[in-house]
Symmetry: none
Subunit: 414 residues, 2 copies
């Protein structure tokens, strides 16, 4: 069954607003057994007419967002009624609800507002407790026409009206439309330490050979998402293979971020962490503390940007900085060990490197970073990486490498 989403709104195409409806609807529709085959955004006004006509030809289910408001450029309701040959009739019940809403806020109902109580004859009203414009559902299964359209939903544009209306009213209707025996599942593996092409080289061919499996990749800076869709049994078969090949590079199977995974590991192992950052400038601490409950295991962070600060806060030896430079394996280890000692934590991560754009040398070009992990029990580990990119991406990739060093260490110690 083809399902299509149409988003109306000039602000989407001018770029003033990001289209979050699409990601909301995509995620909400999948577990019901629906995939969006196409999404279209058009400006407010007449542009919706042609797009609706095309969609009616192609798709059995069409979801439209926006254009139900009171202003002159909100014409989705009128154009839909026109295309379906339906009359707009004044609905007293809808008008009463609108008036009650305005009265609660001490506002006067203008003439414009009345348009929202004009309902196409044959549409089902989807009540909107969070706004004035009701949604509309058109069941067109008995309509005499050659076009594909069977179910049409007109939904309000504001997310705080759309989301509850969809969850509470539209979902039950969709479940009636497509009762599911065995809904398709989607599993997503978050992978670090390998590029997209490396992941595909390792697992692609074998996965494509599994019948009934749909495969997708999404590359992000410093990580790759591998997505498989199919029945539970097919996914189990694929998962066995994926785990056997990519095992130590798989960060999560549940869309958990790397920082969530690491915090969970620390909580489960009842261990604490401290952070000493130079080049990542607070970003590594920030990723730890983005996770709700981080305070259980994250003791403190030191953003020791200046050398004096490394010496004073982390007890790094002045002579060591002079001999090896602040960007060196030796100083990275000394920073991590200093943070461990000062904070009394079980683990401490450190970063020192050259974020750029200035400060590089032949031996240590822009993008060079040393990452160290100090342990209360055991020898420190230090890694050297090169991320020659812009400043913010450098911070992301360096923090990614640091978090992954901790993740791998905690996995082994488990």
């Amino acid at each position: 069954m083809e399902l299509e989403v149409i988003n109306t709104g000039s602000e989407l195409l001018l770029g003033n607003v990001v289209n979050t409806h699409l990601s909301f609807l995509g995620r909400a529709l999948f577990p019901l057994g629906f995939r969006i085959s196409r999404q279209i955004a058009v400006p407010d006004g007449e542009a919706i007419r042609g797009v609706l006509l095309e969609a009616f030809e192609r798709s059995e289910i069409v979801l439209v967002t926006g254009g139900l408001g009171p202003t002159t450029d909100d014409v989705t309701r009128e154009i839909t009624a026109d295309l379906l040959g339906m009359k707009l009739l004044f609905n007293a019940e809808v008008m009463t609800a609108i008036e009650a809403r305005f009265a609660r806020r001490g506002l006067v109902v203008s003439d414009r507002i009345q348009r929202q109580a004009m309902i196409p004859n044959g549409a089902l009203i989807l009540v909107n407790p969070n706004g004035t414009a009701p949604g509309l559902y058109f069941n067109l299964q008995n309509r005499e026409s050659d076009s594909a359209i069977r179910h049409l939903f007109l939904l309000p544009g504001p997310p705080r009206e759309l989301i509850p209306m969809f969850n509470e009213i539209v979902v039950p209707i969709l479940k009636d439309i497509l009762p599911q025996s065995e809904p398709a599942q989607c599993r997503i593996y978050r992978i670090v330490g390998l590029g997209e092409s490396q992941v595909e080289a390792l697992v692609g061919e074998s996965l494509l050979a599994i019948k009934g499996l749909e495969l997708g990749y999404c590359a992000r800076p410093g990580e790759v998402e591998l997505r498989i869709i199919g029945s539970a049994s097919v996914l189990d078969q694929a998962e066995d293979f994926i785990l056997s090949v990519l095992k130590s590079n798989i960060v999560s199977r549940d869309q958990n971020t790397l920082e969530q995974v690491v915090i969970n590991q620390l909580v489960n192992q009842n261990k604490t962490i401290a952070v000493a950052e130079s080049c990542t400038g607070g970003f590594l601490s920030n990723r730890f503390t983005n996770v709700p409950g981080a305070s259980l295991v994250f003791l403190e962070g030191f953003v020791t940007y200046a050398n004096e600060s490394k010496i004073r806060e982390l007890q790094v030896d002045v002579g060591m900085i002079e001999r090896h430079g602040a960007v060196s394996a030796e100083v990275a280890v000394a920073m991590a060990e200093g943070a461990l000692r000062v904070s009394g934590s079980d683990y401490a991560l450190s970063t020192t490197g050259i974020a750029g754009p200035g400060g590089g040398s032949l031996e240590k070009p822009v993008g060079t970073v040393f990452i160290a992990l100090a342990l209360k029990q055991g020898e420190p580990v230090v890694e050297r990486h090169l991320f020659p990119t812009d400043r913010e991406n450098f911070k992301w990739l360096a923090s990614q490498a640091a978090l992954d060093l901790l993740r791998r260490t905690l996995s082994e110690l488990k």
Copy 2:
């Protein structure tokens, strides 16, 4: 001239990723004189074929994002060549660039990667310094065909590849396509401390009365962008009015971020800063250190998440924490003064609050934050704010308030 955007990527329709390309392109195209008449998102794979064909019929300019990668679901390049009747030819120069990129990172080039060096015969290569897949531009003005398409751009999907490629290579081509005699200018004012509707109430009516001026607002968390479009003389007139009304709330007139503005102030005044963070967890230090050259003025940051850490690193009095709680004006000031003393900086900012989801109380609900600024010369300043939102947005808003407190103080002292 009709301009259409096609975004490929199953992850968009599954809702795993929000389509930020559309808003980026919409905003970037406008000042060039283009408006997006339609945007379509389709899954990876064959679906792009039909959509491309339709777009070719309708629009003179088509921008496609995604589907240029190395994996089997990336087929935009191949299908486009097929539709335009072009052969794919191996391009040694592109391959050399890809190999150099891989060599720099110590990676091996797989067979799959070679696909990205297959270039449709007749396409112009748009170099991609931030990824392996080059973009492609097809100038179809001399093509014998009844379809509308004249200019086709295939652009990489990852934002950090797409955005610089668009700004540096595509914009000049688009300027050639649509030379503007008197290009409309666009000025954007970044405003903090006022909501969107407050800004509109203060300046909206008067600005709308200026003939030839187009007006727009964009609300972001913790800031508002006021956008005016028109000829230079009209903009000057509008600007005089805007500055006279919003003066102290305008952070920048050049799209500089708040952190850039503050770093510039510190550099110009030859002053240094230190940061003591609790609830912002490194995010405030991170914003400072995102600015190239921050090391000139940013001495160090303390992410003192645990109370012990506040006491040890910042010399906050134990009794004060017991009496007032860690989230209090008193502790905020003590943290800032501690950071100032320890680091020897000229200014020190601190944050302490309740990011949530847990930890709130009746007196100090989730979202409460105290922000303090300590000065080497002068009395400390402390502010209380309430940002009841999710954790990451809370950190953003709290850091925004802290940076703005510093900005206002530095403006007054100047």
